[in-house]
């Protein structure tokens, strides 16, 4: 559908330009800064609701396409468009855009203007990542996003913030320059920067393997996969609450989105022949990192590890389809895996964001994230305890919450591929429940840990609004995932049809004697 309004451009630029305005207001006008930031984020969210509503669910084609020349000399375009994969993620981004502004309302006291500006700019850039259809444009958004996050962690973070933020930046930067080399190589081969044209462009298996490695370097760091996940716990622990929320809820999803947009359709043959690698790394993440999460003393670290473990489901769901196709050419169940991965991303966005906000609520009161400092919070904060328990249940995959839907779909798909995949993936139901519920037991229930805990004040209206909105989202997706699945359905089918077709040129096949 061609819209008369450049909806996507507005979604990208309203927050970015708004963020600059907010920064220009200056430190003295903190209350105006907050109101303006809220206004901008709400407008953006409304606009994305419109996008969600106007999106044509029957079509797998790119919609709301905008295409203008950017750098003519190298045929680079300002090329935006969305399909069923991007729309839910954009909605998630703008939703959290509002929440972080509200969540940082009173908590952030120093340099409010820069805090709000950083989040708004970051929101625009992330929407850009999800809608860019040009290689360089994508890379620009993908990298530029690091700058506001770098500043957020470094300026408002905890005691080891400098170490954490530089590690975060360098890790991600290193991963993505390999992707840049790959993208340039693709351009040299194909003569275009259009990602859609790349999807159709035939490539030999060696080239595909190298490109796949480049993409893997970028996206596995971002998502993150074991063993390149080590930046995540550090970044999460040191980041301020808002930073952790965006990091967990949106930034990790960009890794998953990258696999969907780049690895699978551009290098389907390499993805197929290397699926064992991604699947094993995913299973290691699910099981091993699950165990690691179990022994954490720091609540934020525990949630960070649980994120890595949950993101393992995303990569598993995406790459399991190849194993399914090998067993059964019809590929029944492959769609379930990919859709499960997508639902898992959205759900994990809500749940992990909510969990970090919960930790943030506690941290604002006691300035500690250590599990041992708490105990019996339910006595002094009954409302908070209600929400927290709900979110931790969702984290462990309780039916009726969003956490269940994605995991269940992926495990179901894994069964079609191999019993053992499903068995290992299924372990998460035990491990996830173990670390989540054990945390709940130690922090929320039991005897009141200290008199500080006894004196805790329950959540105020602002916090109740943020957590309430997330609770509604978690339960809604859990009970009624239909609207979400419906949006992505055509795109998923299209992707699966696409990845089954080999992109190896005929001439190569002949010489290889196949």
């Amino acid at each position: 559908m061609q819209s008369t309004w450049p909806v996507l451009s507005l979604l990208v630029w309203i927050p970015i330009i708004g963020g600059m305005l907010v920064a220009a207001l200056g430190e003295q006008r903190a209350s105006q800064v907050r109101v303006l930031a809220l206004l901008i984020s709400v407008v953006t969210f409304m606009l994305s609701l419109f996008l969600f509503d106007a999106f044509d669910r029957g079509s797998a084609a790119m919609q709301f396409v905008e295409n203008k020349p950017w750098i003519d000399t190298f045929s680079i375009q300002y090329f935006l468009g969305v399909d069923g994969f991007s729309v839910p993620l954009i909605l998630l981004t703008t939703f959290f855009g509002v929440l972080v502004v509200v969540a940082g309302w009173e908590v952030i006291r120093s340099r409010v203007h820069q805090y709000m500006a950083a989040f708004l700019v970051m929101e625009g850039l992330m929407v850009g990542v999800f809608s860019a259809l040009d290689g360089i444009l994508f890379y620009v958004f993908f990298e530029a996003m690091l700058i506001p996050m770098f500043l957020v962690i470094g300026m408002w973070g905890g005691p080891r913030r400098v170490y954490a933020t530089i590690k975060f930046f360098l890790y991600t930067f290193l991963g993505s320059v390999f992707m840049l080399v790959g993208l340039i190589y693709l351009y040299i081969q194909s003569g275009t920067w259009s990602i859609l044209a790349w999807h159709e462009f035939p490539l030999g298996i060696t080239t595909q393997t190298w490109l796949f490695a480049g993409f893997l370097a970028a996206f596995s760091v971002k998502i993150p996969m074991w063993p390149v996940h080590t930046w995540l716990p550090d970044a999460h622990v040191e980041a301020p609450t808002g930073g952790s929320v965006i990091l967990a809820a949106i930034m990790l999803k960009i890794g998953g989105y990258g696999f969907i947009r780049f690895s699978l359709p551009i290098t389907p043959d390499a993805s197929s022949s290397l699926d064992w690698l991604v699947i094993s790394l995913s299973l290691i993440a699910v099981v091993y990192i699950g165990f690691v999460a179990l022994v954490q003393q720091d609540m934020k670290k525990l949630i960070a590890y649980s994120s890595i473990s949950h993101m393992g489901f995303v990569t598993l769901g995406l790459f399991i389809s190849f194993a399914i196709f090998r067993r059964d050419a019809g590929g029944s169940g492959a769609a379930l895996g990919v859709e499960g991965a997508m639902v898992q991303m959205i759900s994990h966005g809500f749940v992990s964001g909510a969990l970090f906000l919960c930790v943030g609520v506690l941290y604002d009161r006691l300035h500690s994230r250590m599990i041992c400092d708490y105990g019996g919070v339910a006595h002094s904060m009954p409302w908070f305890a209600t929400f927290a328990v709900l979110f931790f249940m969702a984290n462990s995959g309780l039916p009726g919450t969003s956490g269940f839907v994605g995991e269940f779909m992926v495990i179901l798909a894994a069964f079609r591929a191999s019993f053992w995949y499903a068995f290992l993936a299924g372990l998460t139901l035990i491990l996830g429940a173990a670390y989540s519920l054990w945390l709940v037991k130690r922090v929320i229930f039991g005897a009141v840990g200290s008199k500080d805990v006894a004196a805790l004040k329950d959540i105020n209206r602002r916090e109740a609004f943020v957590l309430g909105a997330l609770a509604v989202a978690v339960i809604l997706v859990g009970l009624w995932p239909q609207p979400l699945v419906e949006v992505m359905h055509s795109s998923v089918n299209e992707l699966l049809v696409h990845v089954q077709q080999s992109k190896i040129p005929l001439a190569d096949m002949v010489t290889a004697g196949r």
């Binding site: 000399t73 190298f74 680079i76 500043l151 080399v181």
Partner: protein
């Protein structure tokens, strides 16, 4: 020689005349009216730009025009480089005025020497014969040697000037030796004739290769690439910040032009030979520059090592020997000059009352002292690190694309990995400005022209990145249709 050929060189003639006029006018000026000198210098630069823009050879539909028996050349590449030289020099003059006033060194010599160096740079950019290249080079070098020692009372400055002079003369000697051998092998000083002679002689002429090696060494000295980089950190550190600002940004354009004229126009047929030499230089520069910069605590030295690594990237653009590569290298050079000018502009801004802000710690907590200046410096640093959407990213991208296009995959990968390593020290500056508390609460004052130009220079980092298409097109079109 007819009149029309002299017309081509009017920008040079204008700059030369004005340098002399400024020298004279200064004799009749009283101390407090020295501002006039600055105005005259600015007028010189602006007018030179206007004259260069009104190139009538382009109106006549020619791609290039020569004068003085073919030893002087006007072409789009040269004109673009000159224009950006003027722009950057304009920035430099405005930054320098504030610095010189503060440090009680505001004398006309700075302007005369800079303008004479500018003349050398312009000649170098337009040179089409070995003689002209040498002439331009020496004029530039001698003026800059004197500039480094501009602060007579500073022993550090004198030492740097001595070092620069000795090493620079040696480099000139090498270059001259190489030129004489090229002349011996080809029998000509004209680059076009040399090119014809080389293609006839073939690649086996030992004297030619020998000469080439000396030329490359001389070039490497002047550009300051590893292993001929030793003078860069000392000179950057020892010279007054205003002079470092000048040396680090303006003459680099001429360095690019000189390398292009010598290697491509003159010795293009020896591409396979100089490609290997430059590959080694480029690789070493990128590796050493980026790692050594990490160990610096002095921002001038840090920027010196960063320059070395940037020059490595420029040379990377030379390796393919393609128009795309030269376009990329030229774009990189222009972008580099703008970035460096802004970085040293910031150093000057933070210097106060006779103390240069040369310590990295002087940047501590800048964000709390002034949001906007911190933002400018952050943009410059991210741009130098090659993070999109700042203009430095586009420069790195183009160079790497050219290298990949020529099949130099290994080199490209090493380059990007080291640029990630290098991004650490740029990030450290951002860290100091944003994450640390200030060590002084002193307010930052600067005249309005200084602030305006610095802001413009900073915004260019972002603006040239977001709207990168026209400058890229200009650079690429300079070398091909």
């Amino acid at each position: 020689m007819n009149m029309s050929s002299v017309v081509l060189a009017v920008p040079e003639i204008w700059v030369f005349s004005m340098a002399c006029i400024i020298l004279l006018v200064d004799l009749f000026l009283r101390e407090e009216r020295r501002g006039i000198i600055h105005l005259l210098a600015m007028v010189t630069v602006i007018f030179a730009a206007i004259i260069t823009l009104r190139a009538d050879y382009v109106d006549q539909g020619l791609r290039l025009a020569t004068a003085f028996n073919g030893s002087y050349l006007r072409d789009p590449m040269g004109d673009v480089l000159k224009l950006f030289t003027f722009v950057v020099l304009g920035f430099v003059f405005i930054y320098a005025k504030y610095y010189l006033r503060q440090f009680r060194m505001f004398r006309a010599d700075f302007y005369t020497l800079s303008l004479l160096a500018l003349l050398g740079i312009m000649l170098l950019i337009s040179a089409n014969s070995l003689l002209m290249i040498y002439l331009g080079l020496e004029l530039t070098s001698l003026s800059t040697y004197a500039l480094v020692a501009y602060d007579r009372d500073s022993s550090k400055g004198s030492e740097a000037a001595m070092k620069y002079f000795v090493l620079g003369s040696m480099a000139s000697g090498m270059l001259l030796y190489g030129m004489s051998m090229i002349y011996g092998a080809t029998g000509s000083l004209d680059l076009n004739l040399i090119s014809t002679a080389v293609s006839n002689a073939g690649r086996d002429d030992l004297m030619l290769i020998f000469g080439l090696a000396f030329l490359v060494v001389g070039l490497a000295f002047k550009l300051g690439v590893v292993p001929f980089h030793m003078w860069i950190p000392d000179v950057y550190d020892g010279a007054p910040a205003a002079v470092t600002l000048f040396i680090a940004s303006v003459p680099k354009m001429a360095g690019f032009a000189m390398a292009f004229r010598l290697l491509q126009t003159g010795l293009g047929d020896l591409h396979a030979d100089w490609q290997q030499m430059l590959a080694v230089l480029a690789l070493l520069s990128i590796m050493l520059g980026n790692t050594a910069a990490i160990a610096q605590t002095n921002i001038k030295r840090m920027l010196a090592y960063s320059t070395i690594s940037h020059m490595g990237f420029v040379l990377l653009g030379f390796l393919p020997g393609s128009n795309e590569g030269y376009g990329a290298a030229m774009y990189y050079m222009i972008v580099y000059s703008l970035m460096t000018a802004a970085a040293f502009g910031m150093v000057i801004l933070l210097s106060s009352r006779g103390v240069e802000a040369e310590n990295l710690n002087d940047f501590k907590g800048l964000n709390q002292r002034n949001n906007w200046y911190a933002a400018i410096m952050a943009m410059v640093m991210f741009s130098m690190a090659g993070v999109p959407v700042f203009v430095g990213f586009f420069a790195k991208w183009l160079v790497i694309q050219a290298a990949l296009n020529a099949g130099l995959v290994g080199l490209a990968i090493v380059a990007v990995v080291f640029s990630v390593i290098g991004s650490f020290y740029y990030l450290r500056v951002v860290k100091l400005m944003y994450f640390d508390d200030p060590i002084t609460e002193q307010a930052i004052n600067a005249p309005v022209d200084f602030r305006a130009v610095l802001s413009l220079n900073g915004i260019l980092m972002l603006g040239l990145g977001v709207f990168s298409s026209s400058l890229i097109a200009v650079c690429m079109r300079s070398f091909g249709p």
